[in-house]
Subunit: 325 residues, 2 copies
């Protein structure tokens, strides 16, 4: 019997993760007996949930909250809650409060819980912990050089997770997610939004704006692959990981041109023509500091699986979102 806590359950990845957990019905070879789903807005009860589901709407970073969330000693904790990159950059205090202090409070609550409580904690870090210039590909032992406050906060969380895990106070695994593509729904204000937009909008017969050159190379994974990483991170053998508890997840290194080629192959030439090139120097500059592609031997050796290709990423979007093409 396993009790699963998901912090950040109302977000896109959180919802898809919970859906998959309900579908599987078990985790770490045990039946899931209870869910606690937390977000700053109330998460929804997943349809067909076969066990009790507690929904909690709160800011998990507030004093005393983390202690409350682990009161019933969840066995596996997925910590997905974060202020995104853009907002963490414009709102210094909020970013540090949620992304750094929030994570630290959670880890400290676990440390101080007593009863030898030592849950598996899956922490979503990000490739934003890296900043240019880079070798190509970026190796597993490349130093973290964040160029944003978001990346800094995620990196600090990684170090805290490693230290508490080394000391036997929790059982953490940190996974650095690639940029998630194709994000369903509407375009957002993130500088990375176009990586999804140039596939999503044309597949929905709408125009998409491309603000950067076709040669921009980036590291991407589908929402489906991301959920796979999270589930595997919950189950992977901690001994096999060793003391370096944070890893870059495998992804697909693709250029914008590769993306457009996939769109053309799968959606047809007319859809590819829906992409309009409107160079944006501000976005080009931001993107130029982002990581390109990685050699992710460690994560692959531990069984984490990337999408097979950018075509597979596009097809996952079409399947999972029920798009008619």
């Amino acid at each position: 019997m396993t009790h699963v806590l998901v912090i950040g359950a109302a977000g896109m990845i959180g919802r898809k993760l919970v859906e998959k957990l309900v579908e599987n019905g078990n985790l770490r070879d045990r039946e899931i007996s209870r869910f606690t789903l937390v977000d700053v807005v109330a998460p929804e009860t997943p349809p067909n949930a076969p066990c009790p589901v507690d929904l909690v709407a709160c800011d998990f970073s507030e004093s005393g909250r983390a202690e409350k969330l682990i009161e019933n000693r969840p066995d596996v904790i997925f910590h997905l809650a974060a202020i995104v990159s853009g907002e963490a950059e414009t709102d210094y205090d909020k970013g540090y409060r949620i992304n750094l202090d929030g994570s630290r409070h959670l880890f400290e609550a676990i440390r101080l819980a007593g009863d030898s409580y030592c849950p598996r904690v899956v922490y979503t870090s990000s490739i934003a912990v890296f900043g240019a210039p880079f070798p190509d590909p970026i190796p597993d032992d490349f130093h973290l050089t964040p160029l944003t406050s978001y990346g800094t906060q995620k990196a600090v969380g990684e170090f805290l997770l490693s230290d508490l895990t080394r000391r036997g106070m929790m059982d953490g695994v940190g996974i650095r997610l690639p940029t998630i593509v194709v994000r369903p729904g509407k375009a957002n204000l993130a500088a990375s939004s176009f990586f999804s937009g140039i596939i999503r909008e044309p597949l929905n017969d709408q125009e998409a704006i491309l603000p950067v050159g076709d040669d921009v190379l980036h590291w991407m994974a589908s929402p489906r692959a991301a959920v796979g990483f999270l589930l595997h991170a919950a189950e992977v053998d901690g001994e096999a990981i060793g003391p370096r508890r944070n890893m870059t997840m495998p992804g697909v290194g693709a250029t914008v041109a590769d993306e457009i080629d996939s769109l053309r192959r799968i959606g047809g030439e007319a859809r590819a023509r829906l992409i309009r090139r409107v160079p944006d120097e501000a976005i080009r500059l931001i993107v130029s500091g982002w990581p390109t592609r990685f050699d992710t031997k460690r994560a692959e050796g531990l069984g984490f699986k990337a999408d097979a290709s950018f075509d597979a990423i596009v097809r996952a979007y079409i399947d999972d979102e029920g798009i008619n093409i």
Copy 2:
């Protein structure tokens, strides 16, 4: 006119730094007009100080202290205060409170000071931010993988320093000090104590215990070189450093056998015979996780200078401490 604040001024390196600053009389091409010297025990007024010296005995990590310390807007801040490795490992709370929260409070106080206050902050990190296994030599872009809470706390400080500097909120430079050898005075309880002890004790005609094998390779710098790093870190051009504000300092990569050879050359065979080999498995294990030697191109390119050899390290000890041999 320059006001210099030294936090951790009563420690061995702090005292030597202040002595050198008084001797030089200026920093960053400006006359030093005031010192504020802080430590948890009251620092001493340096002899021959040519300007006002404020002595402050306090725990700089306590709420409100950092704001007070920067009240008169020091132009250069040397932040040397830390709970050492061994104590940070045995006393979890104290280590995190001083090494992580203390540094963060200091940086936050600077950020929130207003008036476009943006002092040069020299932060002493440590090669303890690295943990085995390592390539040989360890390159400048090798990832931080601390295997102690001390190393973790130092690494977090590095990230905070980088982010605030990138955002223009302070002007930080983090320097990862090698193990300081030969430390004057008595042996301490640090696991690294023997690297100094096997030189210092024989040069003072006393027996020294060597707990590890002669082939142990380690990265070392003299107190004199460390003071040189600190002064250069205060003066080096921030533009030239770029966004990666933390660097491993150049050192001497020497084995225990190299150390003993130097002792024999400089102190004679009889002194080398004062080293008694008493293998200690616990110390051997700790030391096996420590970094060996580095390729420090970046710091060297920016003008940081290592000791010329291990012989030079031994001679610096003899000169600086007035040892008769």
